[in-house]
Subunit: 226 residues, 2 copies
């Protein structure tokens, strides 16, 4: 398939290592998502990667080390995928963009989101530092942007922290709790790609209205066909 992402695809010294580490981490991500850290077994990860267990331990000495690598990979992935939000941006455009990108991550990388969710549920023992430093810095830098928008009358007054909490909650629920949404919608196990489009649109509408940026959705204001 598309094994060739970039940089040093063919030979080169660390070729085999690079390939196998990626294979193991991909398998580990799925197993950690399904079972959590303590519930995941190295044997299950090895089997999913199609390798003997001892080989997994050759590349990652301990389960903790592998888990850390998976977590770091997820944080890197998210950082790369999400554009920033600055005071110069148009609120409607910037937040719509942000929400759509987050839902797209829920669709394309649900396992990553579930590993992260698993960690948060347990009190984030291995992410405390990240949450209290990088993430907090990120949001502390974004809060003045929201406040500036409010002061300029561009959006309705709202608590910036809770705005982000709620956006995160809504965008990630379709990855973390996919099973619940799918069951209620009668989809079976997984949501359809279209469901994510609908989720994205509904979250954008909800947030835009909450900020007083009504988009006048389908024409008529209230009431519709029954």
């Amino acid at each position: 398939m598309n094994e060739c992402t970039a940089e040093t695809t063919d030979n080169s010294p660390g070729r085999i290592r690079q390939l196998n580490e990626a294979r193991i981490m991909q398998a580990a991500e799925q197993v950690f998502a399904d079972a959590g850290f303590r519930g995941a077994t190295t044997a299950a990860i090895a089997e999913r990667a199609g390798l003997p267990k001892a080989n997994v331990h050759y590349y990652f000495r301990t389960k903790s080390e592998l888990y850390r690598a998976v977590l770091d990979n997820i944080l890197k992935l998210w950082l790369d995928a999400l554009h920033d939000i600055t005071a110069d941006d148009d609120p409607r455009e910037a937040l719509t963009h942000y929400i759509e990108a987050k839902v797209e991550l829920s669709r394309s990388q649900p396992e990553a989101s579930r590993v992260f969710a698993n960690e948060l549920i347990r009190g984030a023992p291995r992410l405390k530092r990240y949450l209290s430093n990088e993430l907090r810095d990120w949001i502390d830098a974004r809060v003045p942007v929201i406040q500036a928008w409010i002061a300029q009358g561009k959006i309705a007054p709202i608590d910036p922290y809770f705005l982000f909490f709620n956006i995160w909650a809504m965008t990630q629920t379709y990855a973390d709790f996919q099973s619940q949404c799918a069951a209620v919608l009668g989809r079976g196990d997984k949501l359809k790609p279209e469901d994510y489009d609908r989720a994205s649109a509904e979250i954008v509408t909800t947030v835009m209205r909450a900020l007083g940026l009504e988009t006048a959705p389908t024409g008529a204001r209230h009431g519709g066909d029954d």
Copy 2:
């Protein structure tokens, strides 16, 4: 402390059983919340309950059986705590009440929420039936209520299913991902009781605005004190 909840507190035949089962289930809820099903150990549950491991197995033959009991208890708790939503209700009142009750559950029973979240993340292997039957029936009965409100022009048009998904997401994030919110707000490990009040108010505002039921929060419409 307040061990005496109700019904048959003093003697009666199944007195000891009732007491110990409750004690074990309470301990189990915490351990399952912290570690997930596979990660939780019967030894840890026993220790938390202050009983020998063998005693736990006297009341609950297997870990699965205990887990099921905890899950059933949670569903019962939620059913009891949440009032219904009917077409006769005023949308603003009914949904405000619903949101506030859900956030109150996140504050008072965070472990229950986290056990449930853990189960959903793993694909809900033991809750599929509940999700596809009871929960789906509940929401399928509520969707016409929302649609009626829309048709009557009482609220702005919105997808009823995704409205509930988003409300669930926002109200539960403060229990399930408490560690994230607390870290970002600089609260340490846990949110303060006031944080939940704020969360509740912000979610209500967000949903009300999304439904065109602006509550005119603090007086001024836009812009505020700098």
